[in-house]
């Protein structure tokens, strides 16, 4: 699972990196958005200032026809030289209609408030709300004062409760200044609308101290700050040091969703804290996912979809491959082996087929099976009944260990039993002497020496599996009865088989060179037996992680056959081989007798034999026991012969 785990780790790292990048991108985008907005507001303010300046110039120029009109000049000249208030009243009566007519001709520039003052600043005629009382003057207003001194000028007035953007021109007649025309337009929503359009969608508001005197909020701009929101921050802005000093403020937050800059107007109105505010909405990313909301269709179209899709598919396939290699495939194999185990096609889980956790699972299954069998054979009385069935009924006073040969009654004496060399108890290093072995009673029935299994136990096999060979040697051919003939006589396995190839544990023999000079018995020439089909299948299914089983060299087999191996291992191997042969014979006989063999496993069989052997050895003081298969009452049965010598 190394690859899969690494793959998951890599995916986690990539995912976290992507999330981190998205979070970083959110912060960066928000900062950039704020910076862009604030820069935009500064540009907007310059644009507004330029617009107001051009507007002032336009108003100054617009009133030029009024200042130059002969009727106006004449009236103001007369007013400046008047000797009585009656003359002023008369001039007011004649000049006012003329001013109204001229003002209408200004069209879009027509004044909301218009004054015609004489050379002393006294109002001769006035248009607009709250007309001045007779004789009122504007001489001390800087705008009027400078106009009467011969200058054109603009200003912003707070006049009688309203805010006006003013313009003034001197009236010249007969080589002297005779008065001035003073023109005013309200600072109101109309101008705010004009400015908002000029700066492309910003909210514009004019204020006079804490009061908004005119504003415009574009309806086509999402989240544009409203007049109420601007008014809420106006009090704070008025205390801003920059604004107090007459400068534009830095961008100020508006209700957490906009920015605004505040500036005082250019003119005397600045002293009355008359100014304007420009605001724009601020849309920040609340989460990294909103990054996609700001992407346009062009952005999506520009994505290398093929490459991204291919990369995603490739990564998916790679991940699936890792999972298949490390999980699905061994799991499938485990399922298959478990199914075969359940169907008794195999006796144990082939742990060499697995690696890692699956191998541990297989080992655990094998261990559990062994323990279950052991427990059942030791404690279950039913098992004893099966043993009796397997071994056949024991005569009452007859020693159970004595069995007859085939064709006898089954109650022969020990002397009738051919001398069986005590192979398992042979002293260490003593070779099994073929010459001492009694020839079998029925020579044709003598099974040829079984070829030793070429397969050794896997190195990682648990200790419980170590004592016995992983693959039993091929069963010796049985003397099968003729078709339709009587049941075959009991087949006797070679009681004292000549030295034969041993089934060695892979841990001890795999890859080991033959031990020269061990034993010294005669070497029998034996043909090499090919591996069992099971072993062949194993070879086919060898895979990564499984223990590789080396084929035992023939020289080693020969050396083993000549008794070069230790006597102890020889004895154990002989016993194991003997049990295998007996098992094979017993199964074959049962089949011949038409008995079912399902569930009849070698392991159980061997345990029964060993248990029976121990009882016989204990009871009769024998050094070993040899088993033979025979047919009794149409059923396969075993006979045990104690070996005393």
């Amino acid at each position: 699972m190394v690859l899969s785990r690494f793959w998951i780790f890599a995916l986690s790292v990539v995912a976290m990196a992507a999330i981190g990048a998205a979070l970083l991108a959110q912060g960066m985008v928000n900062r950039q958005t704020v910076a862009n907005l604030e820069n935009g507001l500064r540009r907007d303010r310059l644009e507004v200032e330029q617009t107001l300046k051009l507007d002032a110039r336009a108003r100054i120029d617009a009133i030029a026809p009024l200042a130059a009109h002969p009727d106006v000049r004449t009236a103001l000249k007369s007013a400046s030289a008047r000797r009585s208030d009656d003359e002023l009243r008369a001039l007011n009566t004649t000049l006012k209609p003329k001013l109204q007519d001229l003002n209408r001709q200004l069209l879009g520039m027509s004044a909301d408030i218009l004054f015609a003052v004489d050379a002393n600043g006294v109002i001769v005629a006035q248009l607009g709300p709250n007309e001045a009382r007779f004789g009122g003057g504007l001489a001390t207003f800087p705008l009027v004062e400078r106009a009467l001194a011969g200058h054109v000028r603009d200003d912003v007035w707070a006049y009688d409760g309203s805010v006006y953007r003013m313009a003034a021109r001197p009236v010249i007649d007969s080589g002297g200044y005779v008065g001035a025309i003073v023109h005013g337009k309200k600072l109101d929503e109309g101008l705010a609308t004009l400015l908002s359009r000029r700066v492309n969608g910003a909210s514009i508001a004019f204020f006079r101290r804490e009061a908004i005197v005119g504003s415009f909020t574009p309806t086509d701009v999402t989240g544009a700050p409203t007049q109420a929101e601007l008014g809420a921050v106006l009090a704070t802005a008025l205390t801003n040091a920059d604004l107090v000093a007459g400068n534009v403020t830095a961008p100020i937050d508006v209700a957490g969703r906009g920015r605004a800059v505040f500036s005082l107007v250019t003119g005397a109105g600045a002293d009355a804290q008359i100014g304007y505010v420009i605001a724009r909405p601020l849309t920040l990313l609340a989460s990294p996912s909103e990054l996609f909301n700001s992407a346009t269709t062009e952005d999506f179209a520009a994505l290398p979809k093929g490459a991204l899709g291919g990369a995603a598919f490739g990564l998916f396939v790679l991940g699936m491959l890792f999972f298949w290699l490390e999980k699905d495939r061994p799991f499938s194999r485990l399922k298959k082996r478990a199914k075969a185990l359940g169907e008794r096609k195999i006796d144990r889980m082939p742990i060499a087929d697995f690696s890692g956790n699956y191998r541990r699972i297989a080992e655990s299954v094998n261990l559990a099976m062994d323990k279950a069998v052991e427990h059942a054979s030791e404690n279950s009385p039913k098992k004893k009944a099966n043993l009796d069935e397997i071994l056949g009924p024991a005569s009452g006073g007859q020693p159970q260990a004595f069995f007859g040969f085939s064709g006898q009654s089954g109650a022969g004496s020990a002397s009738d039993i051919p001398d069986i060399p005590p192979a398992p108890s042979a002293p260490r290093g003593a070779p099994a002497m073929p010459g001492r072995a009694q020839p079998p009673a029925a020579a044709p029935m003598m099974a040829p020496p079984a070829a030793a299994s070429m397969m050794a136990q896997p190195a990682a096999a648990p200790p419980i599996a170590a004592p016995r060979p992983a693959a039993a040697a091929p069963a010796p051919p049985l003397a099968r009865p003729a078709a339709g003939g009587p049941p075959a006589p009991p087949v006797r396995s070679p009681a004292a088989p000549p030295p034969r190839p041993q089934a060695f544990g892979g841990a001890t023999l795999a890859g080991m060179p033959p031990e020269p000079g061990v034993g010294g018995g005669p070497v029998q020439s034996r043909a090499y037996a090919p591996p069992s089909p099971a072993a062949g299948a194993y070879d086919d299914e060898q895979e990564e992680g499984a223990t590789m089983i080396a084929r035992v060299p023939e020289a080693l087999l020969n050396a083993s056959a000549t008794g070069q191996m230790s006597a102890v291992s020889e004895g154990a191997a002989d016993e194991e081989l003997h049990f295998r042969q007996v098992f094979d014979d017993f199964v074959a006989t049962k089949k011949q007798c038409g008995e079912p063999t399902a569930g009849f496993t070698f392991d159980k069989f061997v345990q029964t034999l060993r248990k029976n052997k121990e009882q016989i050895v204990t009871r009769h003081g024998a050094k070993g026991v040899r088993f033979t298969v025979y047919v009794k009452d149409g059923k396969a049965a075993l006979k045990a012969t104690p070996v005393k010598d």
Binding site: A56, G137, T140, D160
Partner: protein, 258 residues
């Protein structure tokens, strides 16, 4: 200073007794008549008028500094007729006061007007505990206040209305208008103000009925003191002070309270 009456008495020639008695009787009658006629003025017989002349030098009103924020986008010559030079409206903008011993019967009352869109006078000098009356003669409302002076907070004064402010604290405070931004004024409250001069447009000023004594003449233009002189008043009909040249360039800066 010689007494003309004394000189006339010493120059009388020798005459006969009847004539002398007759003349003496006649003189006594004339003197008695004259004394009776002039008795009501006897109490102010020692007070005299003090007058003088203010002169603003060339460039007294400097142009705004280049770095000063201009209260306009455009201010240009009209292109046809030369502009008039900037000038000081001395009657409206200046205040000339006589500092010295207090004058008998002086009233602690002063009056200023809002006319033509501004204060007149715009420089005000009063004694402590003076009641200042502000009358609005403009066609629009004003809302005057003195920055930092208790009792002179912003208060709207409609057209044709007046308000009064009791000034108790000596010092100097600028006066502003919350309604009409260009309105500028300055209030000086000085303890030893003896008299306040009236100023003519041509710069002539005059103190009337000044008791003899040692005085200091000060001229204020807004927050600043632009001229000063001393005057020794004696029993004379009138004292003419040498012309005072306004020296300090007026800058739009508020003076610290004195």
């Amino acid at each position: 200073m010689s007494d003309p009456t004394h000189r006339q008495r010493r120059s009388i020639p020798a005459v006969s007794v009847p004539s002398a008695l007759l003349v003496l009787s006649a003189t006594a009658c004339v003197a008695a008549t004259a004394l009776l006629c002039t008795w009501p003025l006897s109490s102010t017989a020692l007070a005299v008028d003090v007058k003088g002349l203010l002169r603003a030098p060339e460039g007294y009103l400097p142009a705004p500094a280049a770095d000063e924020r201009k209260p306009y986008y455009w201010e240009e010559w009209n292109g046809f007729l030369d502009p008039r030079p900037r000038r000081v409206d001395m009657r409206r903008e200046l205040a000339v006061v006589l500092l010295g011993p207090p004058q008998a019967g002086a009233e602690n009352r002063a009056s200023i007007q809002l006319v033509g869109g501004s204060l007149s006078p715009s420089t005000i000098v009063v004694r402590p505990d003076t009641i200042l009356r502000i009358e609005n003669k403009d066609d629009f409302a004003h809302e005057l206040f003195a920055e930092g002076l208790d009792g002179f907070s912003a208060e709207a004064t409609s057209s044709g209305q007046a308000r009064t402010v009791r000034v108790t604290q000596p010092g100097s405070w600028p006066i502003r208008d919350r309604q009409v931004a260009h309105v500028r004024g300055h209030l000086h409250v000085i303890a030893n103000v003896s008299a306040l001069a009236t100023i003519e447009p041509n710069g002539e000023y005059k103190f009337v009925n000044v008791a003899p004594g040692q005085y200091t003449i000060k001229v204020f233009h807004g927050a600043r003191e632009v001229a000063t002189a001393t005057a020794q008043v004696v029993e004379s009909r009138e004292i003419v002070i040498d012309p005072l040249m306004l020296t300090a360039p007026p800058r739009p800066a508020a003076a610290a309270p004195r």
